[in-house]
Symmetry: C2
Subunit: 254 residues, 2 copies
Amino acid sequence: MILITNDDGIVAPGIKALVDVARKFGEVLVVAPDSPQSGQGHAITLNQPLKLRKVNIFQGIDAYECSGTPVDCVKLAKNVLLKNKKIDLCLSGINHGANASINIIYSGTMSAAMEASIENIDSIGFSLLDYSFDADFEAAKVYIEKIIRYTLENPMQHCKLLNVNIPACPLEEIKGIKICRQGNGTWVEEFQEGTDPRGEKYYWLTGKFVSFEDPANEDNDIWALHHKYVAVVPSGHDLTFYPEIDNLKKLEKF
Amino acid sequence: MILITNDDGIVAPGIKALVDVARKFGEVLVVAPDSPQSGQGHAITLNQPLKLRKVNIFQGIDAYECSGTPVDCVKLAKNVLLKNKKIDLCLSGINHGANASINIIYSGTMSAAMEASIENIDSIGFSLLDYSFDADFEAAKVYIEKIIRYTLENPMQHCKLLNVNIPACPLEEIKGIKICRQGNGTWVEEFQEGTDPRGEKYYWLTGKFVSFEDPANEDNDIWALHHKYVAVVPSGHDLTFYPEIDNLKKLEKF
């Protein structure tokens, strides 16, 4: 059983492209948000109930739209819809836009995949470096098929989560797959300020991504994507900063 | 300048307790959500504008309520309210309830602190193991004062984020501070199912935390809290699972 979700919403072309590839490998269930949920990170819905509605969007594939976040979708799929069924793989995406570097933290796409990985399910988030609704997913589909096949033939051992970003260019320009670490970068925000119809001031988030990596460092996903490789980052959910544990021991006696 | 936020909302007693301690160390600015935002993780608001409203809640302290998520609060504080001002420390909490182990991923409190740490600001999230609105923060305040003093006297070097969880018991029962790694555990969900007034089925998230740690392992925050220590976990935002990079190289040639 392959579980598929995303954060752009169940009608986004990216999830359709992912279903097209995944169905070649076996039974598929789609549970995805009923509205766009970009930037939802690892949000879950605690203070209100969730709805699930069966929809007929993908020919011959069971699919449900959910009123919650991408992480809610995974929790509902696992606990309500697939109660006693083993999930072999959870796929999230294809995201319309990059989730490389620090974006893994903000991304609903990656958080949904991470949620499944916390439950010990092999999980992969896929993103294409094209934010447009009508992005061309054809080249991406070729690499996604390859990565799904590899993962099913070589189940993950300790790491249960892959963050896969795919350059937006024709297939023949993609140089191959590169295994990377998460590149170091951040968003520089510039809030758009305005006044709403009732005269109240508002701030609307905008910004641009800035890399902190030396362009000579070839080991990270920012470099790989810039050089037209498909970037694959093995990822986890242990946020401990281990090198600091010994330094901090002084605080125990402070 | 000390920036303070939380995820329980600006009127929660926990943030009041944190302001009481932090004001002893210098100028404080509070920017916190105008409604409870527990479980918001690292969500940011992309699809709508944000509002900021100055409120007079903490005597002599500048404070703003924000219509967005905890992470939005930090972004607005840094980019709009404190444009050219150095933030010496970002404090988040005191959260009503635990954020130990895997909870760091779901927690708005910890995500707000992480957001500041991504901006290279020393950041600490504080949580008390008591979910009630009228929790007793007095013992927690003693340890929080100690940890803030230590951090201001010993600025963080590479790690910029501490996850601090405090047992809910009288001061004399707390055994001290323990530096830990993030304990391994998860939430076992049981969705409450019901029917809404319009006859539609709904699912409401509930569940209980389950530890995967051997109780003999003394190096993690689950053990520390169970044994009435204040648990301090140095944390980061690089999610790369480094040991897997070499194993995965086969995929480059697949």
